[in-house]
């Protein structure tokens, strides 16, 4: 009997089951939660979140979850509302202790003053949902994850706090380095395929010269591409950011003679990438396209 009680007392507590919507959030939960969490991610790395099916296995994951971490601002519109409607798990519903919505901590950009489908097919009434592309917002997302884990598992609060602090210190160092590297580009313009990069541009003082999509969610037409081409030339745009799922076919003529290069990047972490490595890769792509060398960051990163 004593053995049994001892074994029970020494038994490691079950990890928290945390379902997250995108790989960026999965990385933050894994780093801050460590061994105390089990993470399930709904959007695979490199995927367009708009293309995720609201299928039954996701329902099952949510049913068993202790917590749900999502982006909000309708980022997960294609699958999460339908799942939350059917899942019978009060712990993770909005407003409950296991609910963590990253958008609650950020200031959204591009909140439409009025809603009208003439403004595009892919409209987000509560603002642009791609706020994870600003690393300072990444820090706010991490704070949200820390607070969630402390709330659900106060016994391990000190460990969560320490793991968050270590991550946040690394994030601050890197953001400082990226800011220094991108400083010469303040006021320079970049182009994008979809309106996903507003937060990234705002963080580093970049101007958005235009999008390949004439309106969010609509394919480009010839007249729009002619106008964009003129803009690329006039503003001497060096880089066009495009998500992996968009075709480059319409871009061949657009970019000819403009000096603009294409940089492919998803809007969430790719396979095997941490959130900070993902942001680093985007900064690299934009800076390299402008011929801005890394400022001793390699050694710093290695020392980290």
């Amino acid at each position: 009997m004593l053995h049994l009680l001892l074994a029970f007392a020494l038994q490691k507590p079950e990890p928290l089951d945390v379902v997250v919507t995108i790989p960026d959030l999965a990385d933050l939960v894994r780093i801050i939660g460590g061994d105390a969490v089990r993470v399930e991610v709904m959007v695979p790395p490199g995927a367009d979140p708009h293309a995720i099916l609201p299928k039954a296995s996701l329902l099952l994951k949510l049913q068993r979850a202790d917590a749900l971490v999502c982006m909000g601002l309708d980022f997960e519109h294609a699958f999460l509302p339908a799942l939350l409607e059917k899942v019978n798990n009060d712990r993770i519903q909005p407003g409950q202790p296991g609910w963590c919505c990253a958008a609650d901590r950020i200031i959204p950009l591009e909140v439409p003053a009025s809603l009208d489908r003439s403004q595009g097919a892919d409209l987000h009434p509560r603002g642009n949902p791609h706020f994870n592309l600003d690393p300072e917002n990444g820090r706010l997302m991490a704070q949200g994850v820390r607070d969630l884990l402390v709330r659900l598992d106060p016994a391990r609060a000190a460990a969560y706090e320490a793991q968050w602090q270590a991550w946040d210190a690394d994030a601050q160092r890197r953001i400082a380095r990226w800011t220094a590297r991108m400083a010469p580009l303040r006021g320079r313009a970049i182009a994008t395929y979809h309106r996903s990069w507003s937060y990234f541009a705002a963080r580093f003082g970049l101007e958005l010269a235009g999008e390949v999509e004439p309106k969010p969610g609509l394919p480009p037409d010839a007249a729009h591409l002619v106008g964009l081409r003129r803009s690329l030339r006039e503003k001497q745009v060096k880089v066009l950011l495009i998500e992996p799922w968009y075709s480059e076919r319409s871009l061949r003529h657009l970019l000819e003679g403009t000096g603009t290069v294409v940089a492919r990047s998803g809007t969430c972490c790719g396979e095997g990438q941490t959130y900070l490595d993902f942001m680093e890769a985007i900064v690299d792509a934009v800076a390299n396209a402008h011929g801005i060398p890394e400022q001793g960051g390699g050694e710093e990163a290695a020392a980290d």
């Binding site: 695979p44 995927a47 299928k55 039954a56 329902l59 068993r64 339908a82 019978n88 992996p244």
Partner: protein, 395 residues
């Protein structure tokens, strides 16, 4: 039932509305301390669907050589209270010579029963097969599959209640539902021209479905479902089996249908291509009138349909559709229930989505009727969705 449902929907809005909503002094000063009947904060979400179809066919029938706004649909949805929500689908359908307005669906969902049980009540498309709950304008092809038209009169539309339950068997999600419906009839009203009314449990329609969904790849699934339907008095209208010129008041021909559906969906979220393949079969046992013996006898009829679609990107998709079915003989009068011939259709279709809410589809196909000559038909469909939209759970 329809009136009841709509009234409930409206009543729900009324009861949800009257609490004070603002503390802004300016509003108070303007006498706006209370929500008035003209505020829209608690109004249902609304969407409108236009579905126009133009067809040209070798067949002589006028219905296959026409261009018309096939459907103008108004969809409403709103939370009733914390316990449930309701929706209504009001359709204005152009049936060629005449048009009609119908409450296609008007139902309430109670999802919070606990233990993953939910209940739906009202008038709705029955949970029978993978696709029956999806309105025709939301599907990958233009016309109702022939077997569904033949055996259920189109999409199986019922007025009743349905209990749903889902659970996990290990990591495998499963779901079952059972339904009972005093009133039922095909959406396309192919049997009787109107939904039939059954007033005693012995005459109700009973349905059941069990389905499971297996993950395939990172974002796809394979789903199977088995379905059963039984009506002690059948889905057919009372008939004039004795040839006296009047429908037999006591005519009771039962129908039992077993169904199997298989669906594979493989959308690739990294390049936005997608494969969808589905097959749905129905095995019917139906009491049929045999004029030779002047008696009811069991008749079997089997039908199946399926399609494959490949989405090249979110804009373009193409595929093919096929259906084959044995007739149960649905004509009234002397020919009632005499045929057991097979019919078939095979079509190819291409879809161009100008945006998520604006779609053109061309479908060309051959129909082989159970009697008569095969004919080719071309159809051009234009579907537009205005207003609110949702992505429902896919299972």
């Amino acid at each position: 039932m329809e009136l009841f449902t709509v009234t409930l929907l409206l009543a729900a809005q009324q009861t949800a509305a009257p609490s004070p909503t603002t503390t802004f002094p300016g509003f108070m000063g303007q006498g706006r301390a209370f929500t008035s009947r003209f505020d829209n904060a608690f109004n249902p979400a609304m969407a409108v669907v236009f579905d126009a179809v133009a067809t040209a066919s070798e067949a002589d029938e006028a219905e296959f050589n026409t261009s018309r706004l096939r459907l103008f649909e108004i969809d409403l949805a709103s939370q009733i209270d914390p316990l449930g929500w309701a929706y209504a689908v009001i359709a204005f359908e152009d049936e060629g010579e005449e048009s009609e307005v119908a409450l296609e669906e008007g139902a309430m969902w109670f999802d919070d029963l606990g233990g993953n049980f939910s209940l739906r009540g009202g008038k709705f498309l029955s949970d029978f097969g993978k696709w029956n709950t999806l309105h025709l304008h939301d599907r990958a092809y233009v016309f109702t599959p022939g077997p569904a038209e033949e055996y259920f009169g189109g999409e199986l539309n019922v007025s009743g209640v349905e209990l749903h339950h889902w659970f996990g068997l290990g990591d495998l999600p499963l779901r079952w539902s059972v339904g009972v419906a005093p009133e039922f009839g095909g959406h396309e009203t192919g049997f009787a021209g109107e939904a039939l009314e059954r007033r005693t449990p012995a005459n109700f329609l009973y349905t059941g479905r069990l389905t499971a969904q297996h993950d395939v790849g990172v974002n796809g699934f394979f789903q199977w479902g088995i379905n059963a339907l039984h009506s002690p008095s059948g889905l057919a209208a009372p008939a004039d089996t004795d040839g006296d010129g009047a429908e037999d008041a006591e005519f009771e021909a039962s129908q039992t249908t077993l169904g199997l559906d298989l669906t594979l969906r493989l959308p690739d979220p990294t390049d936005l291509t997608a494969h969808t393949a589905t097959l749905e079969t129905y095995f019917n046992v139906r009491e049929a009138w045999d004029p030779a013996d002047a008696a009811l006898e069991d008749r079997d009829a089997t039908g199946l349909w399926g399609y494959y679609e490949y989405a090249f990107n979110p804009r373009w998709a193409a595929g093919f559709f096929g259906a084959w079915w044995q007739s149960v003989g649905t004509e009234r009068g002397a020919e009632f229930f005499t045929a057991a011939e097979a019919a078939a259709t095979r079509t190819v279709f291409a879809t161009w989505s100008l945006s998520e809410f604006n779609r053109l589809r061309l479908e060309i196909g051959q129909s082989v009727p159970d009697a008569g000559e095969p004919s080719w038909t071309a159809a051009l469909q234009w579907t537009v969705v205005l207003g609110n939209h949702a992505h429902p759970l896919d299972w």
